[in-house]
């Protein structure tokens, strides 16, 4: 209901509280900041106030706030301001401040994912609500009807009069209440509701231009404070002493040699052991000494990584968790067909492997308040998790976020690994504590992207068209957001993934994440099969191999088998794999990216080669194609590779990526995202696999978990296709990661005549694959 003095825009209500003598005000009272709670303790912004999202200042500068973080995508510093600028009708440069991540000064929470869907929609709507409210002010001030008010270049006009935003809002105390749902500490955060009048995309002027990311200059100049750079008076440096295995309990903690390390102190809370010192180097050395002298119980509860596929196929009980059918399933895949392609495909455990190991600084005060300085993709949910661990109200916890080494999804449930340990140590010692994991801690004690294996069967009809497609995807869950040090300390954490976990993202049912693309195939049966995390229930401390989403999670693992299998089906049909794809899609956006790929990549239209002939340099060369749709972004990729059959070396020579996201908000930033994502995907395709033995992870550094180096990079060509008329903001960023592996595997088939149904294509696997007939290197013909 609208009360007197209020106006309604969509579902927003504007309340005018009269003139403030102070002048220079925002669209809201500035004398009492929106986030100030009684007692002066920072709590959170009220997301129902428009000014919690967007502040317009009397000097015409604008501030925006988002609970999202930046992990290098630049979205919150480029795309968000660009869209807000267009909705308000102001210049990009007028948005001088982006407040992000910190839970006490941002309204929405929600993880750093779906940046171009709900995250963008929230700010776009908040901007539209704000613009309409200022238009109402202008209407009153100019004395002309609301429908005669317009804005251009930050100047609002009507009836021959005009004023800037700043002039209109100066001195006004307006409380614009906008409709929202959800809480900052919910996993997905707050959503802005209602239908404020959005500008048509065709009227956007700032969107589409290649603005630079304003956060890059201070980083490059050395001015940015990164997560590891934060210092507080009296701060102690800490190092963790992790258990000997993923199922060990503490038997006897070691002693620190006081004559050698006089300032070092050992802290033990249950199975959580750490060493602190005022000197970081002393903490590092003392932690090594303690680790050598500490006894843990033995545990052997994992299948070694070399037997992982066999374990998944033969040992895991896939009937403990109900299957998930694909939304597009139809027809009957048991129909008679002329030819059948079938195969098993496998993607291994992967590490997020940020370049810097996780580090956090916690300051727990005697009054019970907690300030946690960290780098998190979901500060709101981290706030919830820390409060839960300490059995304290959420109001007691503030999360401050800083730039850091990207986690690629590892912290999208709040934590990357070090946060809770820092809090426990600060609480125990009564001083700020900075907990820095070492390289091996980060490799062995963080979560990983879970593996998947897929049985695919494709039936071809008499004309060589796909008549049926069946895929059964099987893998452990992908989202364990429990705090690791809290688990070790025996403190409250959320439940691990299970079939009865009521939180959808923490349920271990496998979602179907890769939308079916070949919609002309009449018979489709795709099913996801979930399981428990490997070794978790066997571990006395409920750990085992904890899993977490990583760039295009689950979709990559489902898309890889689909795309490689379709390439193999094309070969069985004697068809060109790119044309074969075109022949099985009706969506014109897929047709568009595939057709463009053929033009841009130097693609040679022909069936995959069945007889292999080395080039003059002794290398076998091939071309491969992949495609994907994710969050309204359409993508196609071609890989041109060379294989040295005697050594098993695979070299990617060229990568061509076509992206059509509908509206291209910032072509410069999108190009850089896509180049990097394509190369990270190449790294995954060629190198990456987490190794482990019966007790724990054995990938512990960059030599046991190698990633792509500069000397291996292919020529990368990125083609951005803009289709603003579609009116959709497709996602960029992570999707590029998923494209390389299936395109490279397709090129492997073309180059060698042998399918490659697993990654990574490391020399030892490649030699085994070339000597076998199953694409996995496990069965010899």
């Amino acid at each position: 209901m609208t009360r007197p003095g209020e106006m309604t825009i969509g579902k927003a209500a504007l309340s005018r509280r009269g003139f403030l003598a102070a002048g220079g005000a925002l669209v809201v009272s500035f004398s009492v900041p929106a986030w100030a709670a009684p007692g002066g303790r920072a709590a959170a912004l009220d997301p129902a106030r428009s000014t919690s999202w967007i502040e317009i200042h009397a000097d015409n500068t604008v501030l925006i706030r988002t609970g999202k973080s930046d992990l290098g995508q630049s979205t919150i510093y480029t795309a968000y301001p660009q869209v807000v600028a267009d909705e308000l009708g102001i210049a990009f440069e007028a948005i001088t401040t982006v407040v992000s991540g910190d839970t006490d000064v941002t309204p929405d929470g929600g993880g750093t994912f779906a940046l171009m869907s709900m995250g963008l929609s929230n700010l776009r709507k908040a901007a539209a609500y704000t613009r309409e409210a200022v238009f109402e002010l202008a209407s009153q001030k100019f004395g002309v009807p609301r429908n005669q008010i317009s804005v251009a270049d930050g100047v609002i006009s009507g009836g021959g009069m005009s004023a800037t935003y700043g002039e209109l809002v100066a001195g006004q105390d307006l409380r614009l209440t906008i409709p929202v749902k959800g809480n900052q500490t919910d996993f997905g955060g707050v959503e802005v509701l209602g239908d404020p009048p959005l500008k048509p995309i065709g009227a956007y002027r700032v969107v589409g231009k290649p603005y630079k990311n304003p956060s890059i200059r201070p980083k490059i100049a050395g001015e940015t404070v990164w997560v590891g750079d934060v210092k507080l008076p009296g701060m102690l440096h800490a190092r963790a002493v992790h258990p000997a295995t993923l199922g060990s309990t503490l038997v006897a903690v070691g002693k620190v040699d006081r004559s050698q390390f006089p300032k070092a102190q050992v802290v033990v809370i249950g199975n959580f052991v750490a060493v602190v010192s005022e000197s970081e180097w002393e903490a590092v050395q003392a932690a090594v000494q303690i680790a050598d002298d500490t006894q843990w119980s033995e545990w052997k509860g994992l299948p070694p990584s070399g037997q992982l596929l066999d374990h998944l196929r033969q040992e895991v009980k896939w009937d403990e968790v109900s299957g998930t059918p694909g939304k597009e399933n139809k027809g009957d895949v048991a129909i008679a067909v002329a030819k059948t392609h079938s195969g098993t495909y496998f993607t291994p455990f992967l590490k997020h492997a940020p370049i810097g190991p996780t580090v956090s600084l916690a300051d727990v005060r005697p009054d019970g308040s907690v300030t946690l300085h960290t780098h998190s993709q979901n500060p709101g949910f981290l706030r919830y998790s820390i409060a839960r661990m300490l059995s304290r109200p959420e109001e007691a916890v503030v999360i401050r976020t800083y730039p850091g080494p990207s986690h690629f999804g590892r912290s999208n449930g709040g934590n990357a690994g070090s946060e809770d340990g820092a809090v426990l140590l600060s609480q125990e010692l009564g001083r700020p504590v900075r907990l820095q994991w070492m390289r091996d801690d980060d490799m062995k004690w963080s979560t990983q992207s879970s593996p998947m294996y897929t049985d695919v069967s494709i039936g071809l009809d008499d004309h060589g068209r796909m008549a049926s497609y069946r895929a059964d995807h099987k893998g452990p869950p992908m989202q364990d957001d429990r705090l690791i040090s809290a688990i070790l300390a025996g403190l409250p954490v959320i439940d691990p993934p299970s079939p009865t976990n009521p939180v959808p993202i923490s349920n271990n049912k496998m979602i179907m994440s890769d939308p079916w693309a070949y919609d002309t195939v009449p018979n489709v049966a795709v099913t996801g099969h979930g399981a428990f995390q490997i070794g978790q229930r066997e571990s006395p401390i409920n750990l085992g191999l904890r899993d977490h989403s990583m760039r295009t999670p689950i979709q990559f693992q489902q898309n890889f088998p689909r795309e490689v299998a379709v390439t193999e089906a094309a070969a069985l049909a004697g068809a060109d794999p790119l044309q074969f794809r075109l022949d099985h899609v009706s969506d014109d956006r897929f047709k568009g990216v595939l057709t463009r790929l053929r033009e841009e990549s130097g693609w040679v239209t022909r069936a995959a080669s069945s007889s292999q002939k080395a080039d003059g340099d002794g290398l076998l060369r091939g071309q491969g194609v992949s495609m994907i749709v994710r969050e309204q972004g359409y993508w196609a990729c071609a890989a041109h590779i060379a294989v040295r059959p005697d050594t098993g070396e695979v070299r990617v020579e060229r990568l061509t990526i076509i992206v059509e996201p509908g509206v291209v908000v910032n072509p410069l930033q999108l190009k850089r995202q896509v180049q990097a994502g394509g190369l990270m995907g190449t790294s995954i395709a060629l190198h990456e696999e987490v190794t482990f033995d019966e007790s724990g992870i054995t990938s512990e550094d960059w030599s046991s978990y190698p990633i792509l180096t500069m000397s291996e990079i292919p020529e990368v060509k990125v083609v951005i296709v803009s289709r603003p008329e579609l009116g959709v903001f497709g996602t960029g960023s992570e999707t590029a990661n998923a494209l390389a592996a299936p395109a490279i595997a397709g090129a492997f088939l073309d180059a060698t005549g042998k399918p490659a149904r697993r990654i990574p294509l490391r020399p030892d696997y490649v030699k085994a694959i070339l000597a076998s007939d199953d694409g996995l290197g496990t069965r010899v013909q």
């Binding site: 100049a221 990164w226 180097w281």
Partner: protein
């Protein structure tokens, strides 16, 4: 007492002599651009120039660099100004051409590795003002204790950045 020249300034170090240079720079001298990545000389995030040559500060005991000259990203602009005899006023307004190029080409994704990348590229361009793609790749992969790693895989942007930096350096000093 150990003394080291850091970014043109002679500094006295209290830390024990076996302390890795990285911890001395960050914790004692408040020089924060070298980052902790691995502590194993495997990634390059902690790289600094020692008398003009790239080293990994995470495995370099501070006493081994006593009385020598350490340059970090914070000191690149002043080093460039000195090399080119720029005035004080010019120096204050100038980033190193490698930094300028990194901004113009929008090289970083998350950016944590770029401090080491820029150090290595500065060393390269000192020796080879117009490197080819192959020479750039070799410098960042094979010429030091380990490859310089970028997990975001911003390598294509780094190639663009190095070529732009070479162009800027050949044009002389630039100003903001």
């Amino acid at each position: 007492m150990i003394r080291i020249m850091v970014n043109g300034e002679m500094r006295t170090v209290q830390s024990p002599p076996d302390t890795p240079l990285l911890y001395v720079l960050r914790n004692e001298l408040n020089v924060m651009s070298p980052k902790f990545g691995c502590g194993l000389a495997q990634c390059g995030a902690c790289s600094v120039l020692l008398d003009g040559e790239e080293i990994r500060s995470c495995v370099t005991p501070v006493d081994s660099v006593a009385d020598r000259e350490v340059t970090t990203v914070e000191g690149l602009a002043a080093r460039w100004a000195k090399q080119r005899n720029l005035s004080f006023d010019q120096t204050a307004r100038t980033l190193h051409p490698v930094q300028e190029a990194w901004i113009e080409e929008q090289v970083p994704q998350c950016g944590i590795c770029q401090f080491g990348m820029m150090i290595k590229v500065t060393e390269l361009l000192d020796q080879n003002p117009k490197p080819t793609d192959a020479e750039i790749k070799a410098a960042l992969t094979d010429s030091g204790p380990s490859p310089h790693l970028c997990r975001c895989a911003s390598y294509a942007a780094i190639l663009d950045g190095v070529h732009r930096a070479a162009q800027l350096m050949s044009e002389g000093a630039r100003h903001d």
